[in-house]
């Protein structure tokens, strides 16, 4: 119990120090202002957006295929989330099941991609000749849109989970590797030299100096990697993508079913926001020294 309460207290104490919330010292700003800027502003922007959308929809300038009214999108959300008239969700699966399958693919893909990417990055950052050997390949891979090679993955790996997870891993790997390489290579020379002068072995220097110094930037790379992988879900679920939220978007657009496309897009976007929020939280807990060294 105590550990949980202290953990949450820790988060609470640190929250005002978050640079993008603070307008000056957080603890001096009145509570109502913090609530207003932290919750009120995003909420207001969402409301304004929805209002403009609805206005555009009812104005009749565009047809419903382009800008469906909010009521239709909401109805599509209800229809895809429930069993109605004996029909289960969309394509036989409920919305959360589609989302779950996609998140599972993203989780495994990103885990593999980031694991490999960070390992390659550390190796490249510490061994200069390795960097020259591997970097062109990474840049090559990074320049490829996933759609360009997805067909090859289907030929090599089939139509089930493996090509999808591989695609997500391949899109997450380069940003993680590149950020880690840069972070490791940017370790202040003075620190490593000091550690060596104090008698540290190569392994000790790596574990106690290089990794802690590189972690903050590596974390930025990880967030980028997750974002890139997440933006590839529609490509990954292009073939045999149902169940999967990307498959839903692709299938519905084949039928010009704009409301369902929008439901899918909102689901992808919102879950992306949640994931990024969780990563930021993890970053704050795991790398509290960011910006302070």
């Amino acid at each position: 119990m105590t550990s949980i309460s202290s953990a949450s207290a820790g988060v609470f104490a640190e929250a005002p120090a978050e640079p993008d919330i603070g307008t000056g010292r957080g603890d001096r700003t009145p509570l109502w202002r913090r609530v207003a800027t932290g919750v009120g502003l995003p909420l207001a922007s969402v409301l304004v957006f929805l209002g403009l959308w609805q206005l555009a929809a009812v104005s009749g300038i565009w047809t419903e295929t382009f800008v469906p009214p909010l009521g239709k999108v909401w109805q599509a959300f209800i229809d895809t989330s429930t069993t109605h008239d004996g029909v289960r969700g969309y394509g036989g699966y409920l919305l959360w099941e589609h989302l779950y399958m996609t998140l599972r693919r993203v989780f495994f893909g990103v885990l593999i991609g980031i694991g490999a990417g960070v390992a390659i990055g550390v190796a490249m950052g510490t061994v200069p000749w390795l960097r020259r050997l591997v970097e062109p390949w990474l840049t090559f891979l990074r320049a490829l849109p996933p759609l360009a090679y997805f067909f090859l993955l289907v030929i090599w790996l089939g139509i089930d989970e493996s090509p999808k997870i591989t695609l997500l891993a391949l899109s997450a790997l380069p940003p993680a590797a590149v950020a880690t390489t840069a972070a490791v290579a940017a370790t202040p020379k003075a620190l490593t030299e000091a550690a060596v002068a104090l008698g540290g072995s190569r392994r000790q220097v790596l574990a106690d100096v290089v990794v802690p110094s590189a972690l903050p930037e590596t974390f930025t790379g990880i967030r980028l990697a997750v974002g890139l992988a997440y933006s590839s879900v529609v490509a990954a679920e292009l073939f045999n993508g149902i169940p999967g939220i990307g498959g839903v978007v692709k299938d519905a657009s084949n039928y010009n079913n704009t409301p369902v496309v929008l439901v899918g897009i909102v689901a992808i976007g919102l879950s992306g926001l949640v994931i990024d929020g969780l990563l930021r939280l993890a970053e704050r807990r795991l790398v509290p020294w960011r910006g302070k060294v």
Binding site: T65, F151, I159, N257
Partner: protein, 353 residues
């Protein structure tokens, strides 16, 4: 760390980058204008797809350009009927070559202002269900518990579900996966799927080590034909009926050529889809192309004031969309009959040479 003032070298570098960007912008600004485009003429915009049909003959032989010298003719290639529907909604095209399922979608729920003015082809042996050798599938009913690939929302998808229903198989008893033709061929070679309902040219590849279970020709015989249709926007029908007539005439001329001189038609189609003449001839031979007499018979488009059974086929495709939960309800048959453009039929096809 305080920001250092940019040194001379940095400033020169920045200047070089800016200059390069400016040159690039200038280069992209002078886009290449289309050959034969005359800004003083009105433009007729056609959406086409690369399935073998008379539409490609018309395009390749430039018959429409010939028939309408006072217009710019703009052909745009599309990959699916859904995209063409979107283009019609946006009022960016006047004519389209599009399958019966997307037309049903466009008429039933999107309320797109277009009318069915031509039947380009009827799916025959060019769309079929093939079972892989060694799977033991001999008839449609054997598909229970098997994995079957087809491209969702396509005419093949519609035909597969129709075949299952006619054989008394509930689609939920079959593992149907969504794969575009080229991907289904990859999955086929890897033995990831047991059967596939697809079209040419992938169809000929899977036929080499598979057994044909049913084709769209048989389904058409059972009263469930899938069609490729020529549609014209209501706007152009009302404002420029003479253009629609010219378009119908060249389409009829292409149909006639496919019957009278298949070699010449195949050469034109081959040039458009990037294959050789022999292959194009084989592809054309597997489709069903109507004669002008058939086209204007009650079985297909019908005649002025008496729309034919094409309405029935599109109505049935709308039922398929309802079963897929893509439209809330199926409009009555009369709505589809009203969307068939029969003005001047069959007289408009006299003397098409």
């Amino acid at each position: 760390m305080t920001a250092p003032k940019p040194s001379g070298a940095v400033r020169r570098g920045l200047l070089a980058v800016l200059l390069a960007v400016a040159v690039l912008v200038a280069a992209t600004a002078c886009a290449i204008s289309k050959p034969g485009y005359d800004p003083d003429k009105p433009t007729i915009r056609l959406a086409y797809q690369t399935f073998p049909s008379g539409d490609l003959v018309v395009k390749n032989k430039r018959w429409l350009e010939e028939a309408l010298p006072d217009y710019n003719i703009e052909w745009t290639k599309f990959d699916s009927g859904a995209d063409i529907n979107t283009a019609f909604v946006a009022k960016k095209v006047d004519f389209g070559a599009i399958g019966s399922a997307p037309v049903a979608r466009g008429l039933a729920d999107l309320h797109i202002g277009y009318q069915i003015a031509f039947v380009l082809d009827v799916a025959g042996e060019n769309e079929a269900l093939i079972a892989r050798n060694g799977t033991g599938i001999e008839k449609v009913a054997d598909l229970r518990g098997k994995r079957v690939a087809t491209a969702f929302a396509s005419t093949s998808h519609y035909s597969l579900l129709t075949a299952l229903r006619q054989a008394g198989v509930n689609p939920s008893e079959v593992d149907i996966v969504d794969l575009q033709p080229q991907a289904s061929y990859a999955a086929w070679q890897r033995k990831d799927i047991d059967a596939v309902y697809t079209w040419l040219p992938t169809l000929d590849e899977v036929r080499k080590d598979g057994k044909q279970i049913i084709s769209s020709r048989e389904l058409a015989g059972n009263g469930k034909p899938t069609l490729d249709l020529g549609v014209a926007s209501t706007e152009i029908i009302e404002s420029k009926p003479e253009v629609v007539d010219a378009w119908r005439k060249v389409q009829a001329r292409a149909l006639a050529l496919i019957h009278s001189d298949p070699k010449a038609a195949a050469a034109a189609v081959a040039a458009e889809i990037g294959t050789d003449e022999e292959d194009a001839a084989a592809q054309l031979a597997q489709g069903t192309f109507l004669t002008i007499e058939q086209l204007t018979s009650p079985e297909w488009l019908g005649t002025q004031g008496k729309p034919g059974d094409v309405a029935e086929a599109v109505h049935s495709a709308a039922q398929f969309l309802k079963d897929q939960n893509q439209i809330p309800s199926v409009p009555p048959l009369a709505d589809f009959s009203a969307a068939i453009y029969t003005e001047g039929l069959p007289g408009v096809f006299d003397n098409i040479n």
